[in-house]
Symmetry: C2
Subunit: 347 residues, 2 copies
């Protein structure tokens, strides 16, 4: 495999030809909340999946396709995988005696010809900050082209959350540390440290619920049955947070929830969901942390009023930029400060 950019702005070489194939699969397959959500959704809906035709977009090892057959009793699964790993997937399907029902198709779903429309699309397309990698576009295209009118897409909904938060330990470890290093004054390096560590969001951050300084807000809500690619090119959400405790505001944390509904006539029927926030068991997505350049001391009742804009990169099509612009108002002094920072993920 190579890291060539054959796909132009799509960086397909970079994306599909990873040097760390097994590492990435391992990470996903060892992510229990992730797998449990998909398996449970399939199992609980077995009576609806039975004898149906399924399309698995970006099937990887084929684990969801196998689950659709074993737990869902699907009649047929088209398992599409763009990377060369598809050859391994085929071997695994055969080793598990499912070659009759699961058809592994190597190639991009965009150029795939299927012999029929499907009843269910399953895909695990979510990346850092939900959208990074922009695999969602392949899923949307597969839906438009191959999903039956009354078909179901899983996940059925995706919601992105953002919350102002504290990250004291991280800040001290990476930036505060330089203030005094073994008795020497290294504070001249603090700007360099901020630039290097906080220029892009931290995608490996693990936060606690008590780090949240307010209730989270939904900054993006997608109905996967209807969302279009062009809607996602640029989205702006206006927020107004009232801080519910005193502390230090270091930045903002983001996570997402995806739902597995859609088969249900009755909307009140409980559905399976996967939430990657701090109130739920840790997943391989962890939380995404946007560190502002300087921490500020805040009081309960202080407010943050502004916008978060998510802008897909026009050249590097799997990348995006997140722009945070807001004014901070102190409830006691009524002082207003304005903050703005643009975070690339990763270009």
């Amino acid at each position: 495999t190579s890291h060539s950019d054959e796909g132009g702005g799509w960086q397909d070489g970079e994306y599909f030809g990873s040097y760390n194939t097994m590492k990435l699969h391992l990470e996903m397959l060892q992510d229990k909340p992730r797998n449990t959500a998909y398996f449970t959704a399939i199992q609980q809906n077995q009576h609806r999946i039975q004898d149906k035709v399924v399309l698995d977009v970006g099937c990887g090892t084929g684990i969801l396709s196998m689950s659709a057959v074993k737990h869902g009793k699907a009649a047929k699964v088209f398992a599409v995988e763009a990377s060369e790993f598809a050859k391994q997937t085929q071997a695994l399907i055969e080793a598990n005696g499912m070659a009759d029902s699961i058809h592994v198709l190597e190639g991009k779903v965009e150029s795939m010809k299927l012999p029929e429309q499907v009843d269910l699309i399953i895909s695990e397309w979510m990346g850092t900050f939900l959208l990074f990698e922009w695999m969602i576009e392949s899923v949307i295209l597969a839906r438009d082209r191959w999903l039956k009118e009354d078909g179901v897409i899983w996940p059925s909904h995706a919601t992105l959350y953002l919350v102002p938060c504290s990250a004291e330990e991280l800040y001290q470890t990476k930036v505060g540390f330089w203030e005094s290093v073994h008795g020497f004054d290294f504070s001249a390096l603090m700007p360099l440290a901020k630039e290097e560590f906080f220029h892009t969001p931290l995608y490996n951050h693990v936060m606690k619920t008590e780090d949240c300084l307010s209730l989270p807000q939904k900054i993006l809500q997608l109905d996967m049955k209807t969302v279009t690619g062009s809607e996602l090119e640029e989205t702006t959400h206006h927020f107004e947070y009232t801080l519910n405790k005193a502390g230090t505001l270091h930045g903002f944390a983001a996570w997402f929830q995806v739902d597995f509904a859609g088969f249900h006539g009755d909307a009140s029927e409980p559905f399976v969901f996967l939430n990657t926030g701090p109130d739920y068991p840790l997943t391989h997505w962890k939380q995404t942390l946007f560190m502002m350049d300087s921490p500020i001391t805040v009081d309960q009742g202080d407010t943050l009023d502004g916008t978060v804009t998510i802008e897909r990169n026009k050249v590097w099509r799997r990348h995006l930029r997140v722009n945070l612009e807001y004014s901070f108002t102190s409830i006691t002094t009524k002082d207003i400060k304005v903050f703005t920072k643009l975070f690339p993920i990763w270009r």
Copy 2:
């Protein structure tokens, strides 16, 4: 900074122009056993360093140079740094009021002209498996060119250790896992997992003393006052290990010790040392693990008889290869099995 290979086989662009400058300095400066060893050696030898001239090869933030002045009361320090970070070093020296005694010199020590010979060379040149990065060659050259006849070089000695060991948890997490994944047979992926995870040594491994299946052996012993660059191009050590417990042999672990002796007329005088093995507090070097392709069950009294060859890469001059060749003899069955594996670090 860029990752260009301007230095040819030396990869100086890759080596000196890291994107992770602050991350690397942070890792070193937060490594307490590392810093304590250097500081203690300087402090304990203050009466010998006082009013002397010191050369710090690859000074980084200048922390060792500052320590030589503050704790050692050195008269003058030449702090040589090949990367552009030297500009930051200069700012730090000034901020700490040491610009009169510490002279920051930007450039490679190989092309440096010093106004005088020095009494003491200090350097933290050790990399993964002691030798990786091969910064030792710059230190040897600096010694030959700039150290007084009766001068001292720190570290004064370096010893590399190797021990056969068990790494059960790692093996199960990375390779054993594939045997059965959520009830599916994924064992066809085990060879790929071994190749991806165990092709090169693991340089981030943390082992416990009880993972050792024998006493460690010294496979390389360097007297820094006399060692030459050409001696290090290829070294072979013959080993014979008798396993001191039953268990599973997964491979070999390596770590090093460096000593800070050399000022002492009396060789029995205690000296400071830094040991990166499992019996000592963890350092940022952790341990280096060489995983063989298949674990074998071993008994107390079984023997491993063979060689370890360390061969510097002739093209990529900062890289090396470690070749392990040995026969395993079972004490009970007298069966003999032969094993061999060549590990690149990293090319």
